[in-house]
Amino acid sequence: MTNGYWRFDFRESPASAGGSISGAVDAADRGLGHHRHPHTSGPLSQIAWSMVRPCGIALSFVAMALVATLLLQRFFPYPFLFLFFPAVMASAWFGGMCAGLFAVFVSTVLVDYFFVPPFNSFAINATDSTYFAAFVVCTFVASWVSSSKKQSEEILREARDQLEIRVAERTAELERSNAELRRSVREHEIAEQTLRKTQADLAHLSKVMTMGELTCSIAHEVSQPLTAVVTYGHACLEWLSAAPPAVAEARKAAERVIQDGTRAGVVLNRIRALFKKEAPTRDCLDMNEVIRELGVLLRDEAARAGVSLRLELAKDLPRVKGDRVQLQQVVLNLAVNGMDAMRGTADRPRELLIRTAAGGSAEILIQVKDSGAGLRAEIAPEIFKPFFTTKPQGIGMGLSISRSIVESHRGRLWVTPLSANGSLFQFTVPTGSRDHDG
């Protein structure tokens, strides 16, 4: 790039005449449409060229002015010397200060020779010396104005180009860091997605394990209506085969078959919903209803564990926004934990209490209290950590997942060891008035 060459020079010595000259030479190259000199030769010839060039330019301009003035001479009563000013200015403009001064010198000599009497001689009449001196001063001024104007323009252009380059560099830099940022955001998103998936898998595993502990209760829940169905079926046949057939009783039995078959289906659906693995939703939920649905399962499990289960569900509980299955998982986890904690309890009644209450500010409170072994205060903060377990068959994810579920609902889950015996787990869920999509 041509610009690069003279710009570099200029930067090295901004006020040096050489820089200006070589810049002006290049500019002259472009401005006059000359064939550009190849910069393949050595530094010496470069210096020589930078001397010859301004002189050549000055000579050509001054020669053009001389020819024009000689041609115009016959139309004017006195020599038309004004054309030398543009020649000097053009030389200074395209060739730099040296070219300007050289043009001044050549013009002075030529004007003296051709147009100052005595003509065709270098001598000057005394009468014309003032006029000649004025001409010389004027050409000097013209040269100086032109070259300094050119120089300041060069400086301006240089500054502008410099700025453009700086802007381009800065833009590129910004784009690079932007791309970097975008990539790291994408990486973060992928990591987060993986994390979420792992969390969901673990949550599901823990749910399945909790449900595994409830298998007996689930089997019982399903076998009850099925027993009724089979028994009513037999009864119906018996009523019909009596003599005479007891149609009314048979009909009643058949109706109950339908009713209990339907009930079995409902129980199955409810259990399947608990097992289902799907993206969390945000429904408007009545927490009491959510707990009551678990009641059948829990009551049965409690009976098996010899625990008396008490539900104290507050009336007029505000609805909450949340995922039914996830919240059920939390209650189920806490309840099963509570029952496990009471396994070794023999000296006092085993009681599990599940309470709901409208909490302080726009939230509801769910408490699960047991009368079991309780927690030592120092391990209380530990129990919510992943893989913390006191059960031989546990994976220690139940409470950790419960907490993350509660927190994804913008609630809190914590434990209070009771002074007497047992522990109190409680969690809050904000009421539906606040919108959230954790």
Binding site: A228, T231, H234, A246, E249, K252, D300, A303
Partner: protein, 207 residues
Amino acid sequence: MDDADSIVYVVDDDASVRDSMSSLLRSVGLRAEVFGSTEEFLGATRPEIPSCLVLDVRLPGMTGLDLQGELEKAGIGIPIVFVTGHGDIPMVSRAMKAGAVEFLTKPFQKQELLAAIHQALDRDRARREQEAKLSALRSRFERLTSRQREVLHFVVAGLTNKQIAEKLGLSEITIKVHRGHVMQKMRADSLAGLVRMAGKLGVHSHR
């Protein structure tokens, strides 16, 4: 089989299950009474007729197995047919050891249930007959005079009239009369029958 004068008690916390059993039992001509809990069952007055209990193992409050123990302690020998959603071996073994008639897994077939119920009723009927006979015998024994009881003891011990007369310092004729009264009051048709009755009553022989 005279099912009409027998009664089947059903204790199950699930209303559908107990109502369905009631319907089935009634359809085969059995009298059924259903209860939702063991406490309810214990609180009811039960007529003294052959009966049995169909009992769910898993019940809220007192479980079926607990109830079995309670009845045993209270000397109520009602035969029990257990039903459960899922029985593990220790549970079944405990129930059977404590004298349960049968242990059925839900959902059960009619034949299984009815067979178990009839077996239980038969057992109860036999038990009741046994008890009735014994109490009749006891009341007959109660009506003997003390002298007659003395004579009975010696008779059962295999002493002759003469030996008894000697032991009691009475005449042989008097002993013969006492012995005749004993046979008559105890409604024994032979000496062997009298000895059997004495055995059932736990009368100890005097030497």
